[in-house]
């Protein structure tokens, strides 16, 4: 199956007062219809930088992003704007992503109003009701509310309805459930999962929470200091992580009924500053398996199974 969105060799470098910050280094991803790829990592791992680079808001420092085969870098500002509706994003803070002065109806209709090319069948309001229904908010109760009259979960569903109004091919969710309560979180996760399947969307789900990632994604890519360290089908990776970082991340997840691992399997507690990354493998300062080789050379990405790849000199095996 051809990917809907393909990002190749993406790097993002921010200029800061303390020198260049390599937020993302040589990351390649491809998103397919009806599948969700989860991007996992801790704060500062470059998750959100990748999302912005993919959307060309702004474009990456290097690397290409192709949407249905079209190189986004080759487009003019106007052409890019015309293509934007194809890639939609849902943000972490549901309330701030909705204009507090507008009604739900107008917020959801914004993509229709902003591109008045093809009026939706049945009219704007009917389309809004249809979209609100799709996210489980009956239009007659919610369409005339303002964002402050919504709970976090409801606001997030309004944001999803707005994204759907643009008729996207790609739906990016950046920590879209981390600000929500557990029960609202479950609703939004079910919704995202359902929509990707019924509407044939390609999903990119960014999260730091492995439990959430497992519930929503088909594939997972683990990021550390802006580089991909492990990729593969979510179930396989979580069942038998090969990168020591993935293993440490998994071990640290607190869960009812799951005994805490005896130690955190990490040498240093805190991740290094992305401004001064360690030489060689970025994870070596915290890795219990690190050797001299890890400090000397950057591990290459190796295919260890048909659909699994890892970048590590000492991958875990037989776990």
């Amino acid at each position: 199956m051809t990917p809907v969105l393909e990002a190749t060799g993406i790097s993002v470098v921010h200029r800061t007062r303390s020198g260049p910050l390599h937020a993302v280094t040589d990351v390649s991803l491809s998103l397919e219809a009806r599948r969700t790829l989860a991007l996992v990592g801790e704060s500062g791992s470059g998750k959100s930088s990748i999302a912005k680079a993919v959307l060309h808001l702004p474009p990456p420092t290097s690397g290409t992003v192709r949407l249905d085969g079209t190189d986004l870098a080759a487009l003019s500002a106007r052409e890019l704007r015309g293509l934007r509706p194809r890639m939609q994003m849902v943000f972490q803070d549901p309330l701030s992503s909705l204009n507090p002065r507008r009604r739900v109806r107008d917020i959801v209709a914004e993509p229709l109003d902003a591109h008045p090319g093809t009026p939706p069948k049945g009219g704007r309001d009917a389309r809004v009701d249809e979209l609100l229904d799709a996210v489980g908010l009956p239009g007659d109760l919610f369409a005339d509310r303002r964002p402050t009259q919504l709970s976090g979960g409801q606001a997030q569903r309004v944001a999803i309805a707005r994204a759907l109004a643009a008729e996207p091919r790609v739906l990016i969710a950046d920590e879209a459930v981390s600000a929500l309560d557990v029960s609202a979180q479950a609703t939004v996760l079910n919704l995202l999962r359902g929509l990707t399947e019924t509407l044939g969307l390609a999903g990119l789900f960014i999260s730091h929470d492995l439990g959430v990632v497992r519930a929503v994604s088909d594939d997972v890519a683990v990021l550390y200091l802006g580089r991909l360290c492990e990729e593969g089908p979510t179930e396989d990776v979580l069942a038998a992580p090969t990168h020591p970082y993935t293993a440490a991340l998994l071990a640290a997840v607190p869960e009812p009924g799951r005994a805490l691992a005896a130690d955190t399997r990490l040498v240093a507690a805190d991740p290094p500053s992305p401004l001064a990354p360690p030489s060689g493998c970025g994870f070596r300062t915290r890795c219990p398996l690190a050797t001299a080789r890890c400090a000397a050379e950057q591990p290459a990405t190796v295919r260890i199974a048909p659909d699994r790849r890892v970048a590590c000199h000492h991958p875990l095996t037989g776990a």
């Binding site: 704060s43 409801q154 309560d181 869960e255 009812p256 009924g257």
Partner: protein, 356 residues
């Protein structure tokens, strides 16, 4: 728990009303709990359940702009904190109760060096020279595993990573040698791997100092293996409380059952559709006749809407307030005997609940 024994913190049928422009909100509704020395009580609840109000009421630090009315008792070593006037209370609290906040970036003063923030609770009571403060701060930072503590003591908060900042927050809280530590979502702003080390650190000091800890969180998983006991809060009430293993393994209250079911997990059977809790928490400005969870509860009957639920004791200090407690034959959360209501039926009631 039994009379001759005096717990560190003893909260008895605490009712708290917060007066807002829209009328009074009954945010805490008869909350009772105790914490012994060296014990960790985990309070879990969703936003608006009253868990943070509980911490603020115990500390007596509600904002100036809100008018708060409390009834009931908050006893620290047997002394009622609600009775005494604020100034005396502050003196009494001193090192008695301290707090670790959710976001160390906002709870630490950005223009004050770490050394002065860590030793603040000490210098409030005794005079200390600069060198003495640095020595004490270095010791405290070393005790919370801050690498290179002497250099870190001279740093400003923004020069530290999130994990280090939270450790500085803990060092500051431990400085006064408190009897009770309140931790309100202490690791929510931290990465999972860092969260783990910070919680381990708190556990270590709790054991070493015999510190009573009230750990407030929205994440029930975080309490497992850490808190001796759990109190589940809903709509300002403790709906279920008991030993952690019992509450997470054999929950009695349907809300606890639903909460545990809807947590996404990294282990166990893969669930493509997570069970949800339909509906919304009740509006605390309106009186609640029966059980606050009744409108969302799959076991609810007519009585739930009219009579306050009775306390059901299932032994080992494990109890819940429910008319229809989940039977003890429910041995695990996944093998719940409860038959979920059809979603369509729930939708109708729920949505009306949600309308303001």
């Amino acid at each position: 728990m039994t009379p001759p024994h005096i717990p560190v913190l003893d909260v008895r049928s605490l009712h708290t009303h917060i007066h807002t422009a829209g009328g009074p909100l009954h945010v805490l509704h008869g909350v009772s709990l105790t914490i012994d020395a060296g014990e960790c009580l985990g309070v879990v609840g969703e936003s608006g359940s009253g868990k943070s109000v509980l911490a603020r009421t115990v500390l007596g630090v509600h904002g100036r702009t809100v008018r708060v009315e409390n009834t009931g008792r908050v006893l620290l070593h047997g002394d009622d904190l609600l009775d005494i006037d604020p100034r005396q209370r502050r003196r009494r609290l001193g090192g008695g109760i301290t707090m670790v906040h959710q976001d160390p970036m906002t709870s630490l003063n950005p223009v004050v060096r770490v050394v002065d923030q860590v030793t603040e609770s000490l210098t409030n009571r005794t005079r200390m020279g600069r060198r003495e403060r640095l020595r004490v701060a270095t010791e405290l930072l070393a005790a919370v595993d801050v690498p290179d503590p002497e250099r870190r003591a001279r740093a400003y908060p923004h020069e530290l990573s999130g994990g280090l900042r939270q450790r500085v927050g803990i060092a500051a809280a431990l400085a006064g040698d408190p009897a009770l530590l309140l931790a309100d979502e202490p690791t929510t702003a931290l990465d999972v791997t860092v969260q783990r080390t910070v919680l381990d650190l708190m556990d270590r000091h709790r054991a070493a100092r015999g510190l009573a800890t009230l750990l407030i969180t929205h994440d029930i998983g975080l309490l497992y293996g850490r808190a001796e006991r759990i109190a589940v809060m809903y709509a300002g009430r403790i709906v279920e409380t008991g030993p952690t293993e019992a509450v997470t393994g054999r929950p009695v209250h349907p809300y606890t059952v639903a909460l545990l079911r809807s947590v996404p997990r990294v282990t166990g059977e893969l669930r493509r559709v997570l069970p949800t809790i339909p509906g919304s928490p009740p509006d605390l400005a309106l009186p609640i006749a029966g059980c606050p969870f009744a409108p969302r509860c799959e076991r609810a009957s007519a009585v739930c809407g009219t009579a306050p639920p009775p306390r059901v004791d299932v032994g080992e200090g494990h109890s819940a307030h429910c008319h229809h407690p989940v039977g003890r034959e429910t041995t695990s959360t996944t093998a719940s005997v409860v038959v979920p209501k059809p979603a369509s039926a729930a939708t109708g009631t729920v949505v009306e609940e949600a309308a303001p």
